[in-house]
């Protein structure tokens, strides 16, 4: 597969489970290496990053997961500050940056709560805040709304759109049809490890529709 995603784009990555979405995401965050080919981010091939270079690459991208991946023993504030602490950022700067990002995701009043005291939507907003704390150019969201009810889903999507408007490239992997259809953004459909469609203003496509399309063409 070959795909080019431009700076500041908001791309939805769709396809059934096992289609290769997750593998693509894992390759983008350098968790997995491609068997062949390359992944260029800002003209740099991340497939050949050495293991000691990985941490520095990961500080430049933000990642959000379906299961949030928050540390249960740390408060909201500490979870976000943790990403800065491991990156050798000074305590003074941490005290400055964490409140800003908390207000961006609208959780200023929950700073001292533990993840277990938050709703699913709030947890995901903490995860997004943590992903954005390094001011990354790219935010990768792997099924961020998979565990959320429809109402909360829109909150999160709206937050992602807002982040996208500020110039951050957003790659959203999802199989939520309603979300994709409403976004009216570029949609890349993946199946069996191949790109089956790539449309500028796309809708969620199911494999049968593609098959029908191909038959008519």
């Amino acid at each position: 597969m070959s795909v080019v995603i431009g700076k500041g784009e908001f791309v939805s990555l769709v396809g059934p489970s096992g289609a290769g979405k997750s593998t693509l995401i894992r390759m983008l965050i350098a968790e997995e290496k491609p068997d062949q080919g390359s992944i260029l981010i800002a003209d740099r091939d991340i497939a050949v990053l050495k293991s000691r270079e990985l941490p520095y690459y990961r500080r430049k991208i933000g990642v959000v997961f379906q299961d949030f991946k928050l540390l249960p023993a740390k408060t909201v504030w500490e979870n976000i500050a943790f990403a800065l602490e491991v990156s050798d950022v000074s305590s003074g700067e941490i005290r400055e940056r964490v409140p800003k990002i908390l207000s961006l995701v609208g959780l200023s009043d929950k700073a001292d709560n533990y993840p277990s005291e938050l709703s699913g939507g709030e947890k995901q907003r903490v995860a997004i805040a943590r992903a954005m704390i390094h001011s990354p150019r790219i935010l990768i969201a792997d099924e961020p709304t998979g565990n959320l009810d429809p109402e909360t889903t829109w909150e999160i999507v709206e937050l992602l759109e807002r982040i996208g408007r500020s110039g951050t490239t957003i790659i959203l992997a999802t199989h939520n049809k309603a979300v994709v259809d409403k976004l009216k953004r570029r949609v890349i459909a993946v199946e069996h490890g191949r790109i089956v469609s790539d449309e500028k203003v796309g809708k969620y496509v199911v494999p049968s529709e593609i098959a029908a399309k191909e038959a008519s063409a």
Partner: protein, 306 residues
């Protein structure tokens, strides 16, 4: 790693220690037991070596001369014996000196009064110490023949032969067993710490994954575990030290058949322990810290893939 990160890594290690306090306590106890046993064997070995050294130093060969031998002849013999390479020292005991020694012996006054400086049947003698006490018999042999036969009244080393043999044998046995046992327990402690760290790491795989995802470097992920293990070692060392103190203070060695020699040497071990209070504490604690951090760094290397 910057000083700031170092501080954070140490704090993280300490926090993790308290967060999993049950696992930490178990690890500390494991360290303590191991260090305690190593400590007992180490002290026992040192004390036995010191004791045999002391006893060996007391072993000597006395050659008593007939009263008709001239002083000068004895002095000549003394000089020639002192020149032998296997002889450590030769001391001449005159009649007067022999009398003094006799008076100091713990015998009854009645027997003591039998001998006076004027009427002194005690013989003159040469007291010979060998470089290697097991060689005393060889030295003694030279006095049993030839020119000496007429001069020597008695040679008193035979009494020592058994003691020398037993001591030499005990010492090498103790040294060998002590080293083997200490090695076994050190190996055991290595494996236990390794396994403990492995459990701690596996129980925190989620946390490690998150650290990696938010951009923590290898060192930042690994070092808190090593700090934590170091703490097991230090606390285990302190506990082992306290246990060692109680063990010796209340003579508990007798309760452990394996340590029967320790039992026999308990007072000496106690004295040794009290005399080297601080060094023993430092050695045990440092040993604990080293064992724990080395093994945990192995475990971390193996189980934390980045």
């Amino acid at each position: 790693m910057s000083l700031r990160s170092l501080g954070r890594v140490i704090r993280l290690g300490l926090t993790n220690f308290w967060r999993n306090w049950w696992l930490s306590i178990a690890s500390v106890l494991v360290m303590a037991v191991t260090l305690f046993i190593i400590g007992v064997f180490a002290i026992q070995t040192v004390v036995i070596l010191k004791t045999t050294e002391g006893i060996q130093d007391k072993l000597d060969l006395s050659v008593y001369f007939n009263d008709d031998v001239a002083d000068q002849s004895i002095q000549d013999i003394r000089t020639s014996v002192a020149n032998r390479p296997d002889v450590k020292s030769v001391e001449f005991v005159s009649k007067e000196k022999a009398y003094e020694i006799f008076q100091q012996r713990p015998t009854s006054e009645k027997i003591k009064s039998l001998i006076t400086p004027e009427n002194n049947p005690l013989p003159r003698s040469l007291v010979i110490k060998a470089e290697d006490p097991s060689q005393l018999s060889v030295i003694a042999k030279t006095f049993e023949s030839g020119q000496f036969e007429q001069m020597v009244r008695r040679i008193s080393y035979q009494d020592n032969q058994n003691v020398v043999d037993t001591l030499v044998q005990t010492e090498s046995t103790v040294r060998r067993n002590g080293i083997v046992l200490a090695l076994i327990f050190i190996l055991l402690s290595f494996l236990l710490v390794y396994n403990t760290t492995r459990i701690v790491i596996l129980s925190r795989s989620d946390e490690i994954e998150i650290m990696r995802l938010v951009g923590a470097t290898e060192a930042f992920v690994r070092w808190p575990f090593i700090v934590e293990a170091g703490l097991y070692g230090v606390l285990g060392g302190l506990l082992a030290y306290g246990a060692l103190f109680l063990f010796l203070r209340y003579d508990l060695a007798s309760a452990v058949p394996l340590l029967s020699i320790a039992n026999f040497l308990a007072p000496d071990m106690q004295a040794f322990f009290i005399r080297f209070f601080a060094p023993i504490l430092i050695v045990i604690t440092m040993a604990g810290m080293l064992i724990a951090s080395i093994m945990s760094s192995f475990a971390v290397r193996k189980f934390v893939r980045l």
